[in-house]
């Protein structure tokens, strides 16, 4: 009885699937899905070659500091970094005093309350503060940015596929470019609208953010590194990789120790297994 019911149920599901299959195939023939510009012109990110990539990756502290400088002078005007605290900067090689100074001199102040009147006010940042957001809330951020919301950058390197390389490619020297002629010829209706910018590394090809890095030397590095367009892009990608995964170095170190330890355990366990079973065929 169970088997007869099962065969009937199985036949029912298969019949409905066959109907669905018929529908899919006939639609695919009569009305094939149109090709899309995203599908054809979207590019995979270029490799930024960061030192943090790979099993033994470590951050290049000078590079991350340069990236922080790019973030501070370029990105921070619109993008928040709300899960990162000033005190975290000590991890990339700033001294406690330098961190205090960076927090104190940060252009955007932290919201607070006037102790006398109770009205909303701001105060200077201290090391234990998170990075303050440039806009009070989402509405303000959209209003100031042509109704586009600049995403928080704390986790951007983990929130995009191949995030570090994505950031590098997006703001690097070949990210923003004129819309290719063959794209316009093939998909005339996908002309980049006013207020958006063509960028083949962006998922739908048209990004609201105006080109953030435009000229070599836009940032003057204090360590003497020549600030080419790609250098700045690479450095800010390194910084944002660190903000997304600040514990990467501790993780790699702990991982190396754990794997070695477990490997030794595997050999010992194998030896014990052989020893226990030495007289039993199995």
């Amino acid at each position: 009885m169970v088997r007869i019911i099962a065969i009937l149920v199985g036949a029912a599901f298969t019949f409905v699937l066959a109907l669905a299959l018929w529908g899919t195939v006939s639609t695919a023939i009569t009305d094939p899905a149109p090709e899309t510009a995203e599908h054809e012109f979207h590019l995979h990110p270029r490799d930024a070659g960061l030192s943090s990539a790979g099993f033994f990756g470590k951050y290049d502290r000078r590079q991350v500091q340069r990236g922080f400088q790019v973030f501070k002078e370029v990105c921070a005007a619109c993008h928040s970094l709300k899960y990162v605290s000033f005190r975290d900067l000590e991890e990339i090689g700033y001294s406690e005093a330098e961190v205090k100074a960076i927090a104190n001199q940060w252009v955007i102040e932290t919201p607070s309350v006037n102790p006398d009147t109770g009205e909303a006010a701001t105060r200077k940042n201290v090391a234990s503060d998170r990075f303050p957001s440039p806009f009070a809330n989402e509405v303000a951020a959209r209003a100031a940015n042509n109704n586009a919301l600049p995403p928080d950058l704390s986790l951007i390197a983990k929130a995009r596929h191949d995030g570090a390389n994505y950031v590098f490619s997006l703001v690097g020297k070949d990210g923003y470019r004129p819309q290719p002629a063959e794209l316009l010829k093939k998909f005339p209706e996908t002309k980049t609208p006013d207020g958006l910018h063509y960028n083949p590394y962006f998922a739908n090809l048209n990004i609201a953010m105006p080109p953030p890095l435009t000229t070599d030397g836009q940032v003057t590095y204090t360590d003497g590194t020549v600030a080419t367009h790609d250098q700045m892009a690479k450095d800010v990608a390194a910084f944002l990789t660190w903000t997304a995964e600040p514990k990467l170095e501790a993780r790699h170190a702990a991982g190396f120790a754990s794997v070695v330890f477990i490997l030794i355990f595997c050999f010992l366990a194998w030896g014990a297994y052989q020893n226990v079973w030495r007289d039993v065929k199995h």
């Binding site: 005190r87 201290v126 330890f261 355990f265 014990a272 020893n275 065929k281």
Partner: protein
């Protein structure tokens, strides 16, 4: 045909399944090593599980508080907070200082002079945690009109500990004086605690 149960498999002695016969000490070393190694691993993995309960980095970072003391008149006190604990900042009157200095130190449960509990030249500024050293209640006496207790300092309503004008324990079950945290005067009107 004979059943399998009747046969002893060639070259095998079922007794081996039950007891060790070959030189157990040397051959079992590998078993002991594997078990010991597993034990070490288990202990190592417990460490992060215990350590996660310690204060996290954001809690440790909020370790200093700035306090504006310009508006505290002599005889008044304010309650602030330091590491989520109440903090009493009190501007002592000359009479209160004199009362504190008049006490013979060797009669105290926790012998300390007012000088030792304040900064040089700022003897009128008594800055202590508002946490009774008995069981952690907040003593009265910092707020306007609160019971300052029999010694004119602070009085803990939970179990009746009384502190004098230097915040020293004088009566009741508390074992120690009110704790004086680390602090420094940034200027005459601003103090950084922690």
């Amino acid at each position: 045909m004979a059943t399998v149960e009747d046969q002893l498999p060639p070259g095998e002695d079922p007794a081996l399944l039950d007891e060790e016969v070959h030189d157990p000490r040397r051959r079992d070393f590998i078993n002991i090593a594997a078990v010991s190694f597993a034990g070490v691993g288990a202990v190592a993995i417990v460490l992060p599980l215990i350590n996660q309960m310690n204060p996290s980095a954001d809690v440790l970072a909020q370790s200093s508080t700035e306090i504006d003391i310009s508006k505290i008149a002599p005889g008044q006190a304010i309650k602030s907070s330091f590491r989520k604990q109440p903090l009493f900042v009190r501007n002592l009157t000359p009479a209160e200082i004199a009362a504190a200095d008049a006490v013979p130190v060797n009669t105290l449960r926790d012998p300390q002079t007012l000088e030792e509990r304040t900064k040089a030249g700022k003897k009128n500024w008594l800055i202590t945690l508002g946490v009774c050293t008995h069981l952690g209640c907040v003593p009265l006496g910092a707020g306007e009109g609160e019971n300052k207790g029999p010694f004119g300092g602070y009085f803990c309503p939970c179990h009746g500990s009384a502190y004098d004008t230097a915040g020293r324990i004088r009566q009741g079950p508390a074992p120690l004086n009110l704790h004086v945290p680390e602090y420094a005067f940034n200027s005459d009107t601003v103090v950084t605690v922690g």
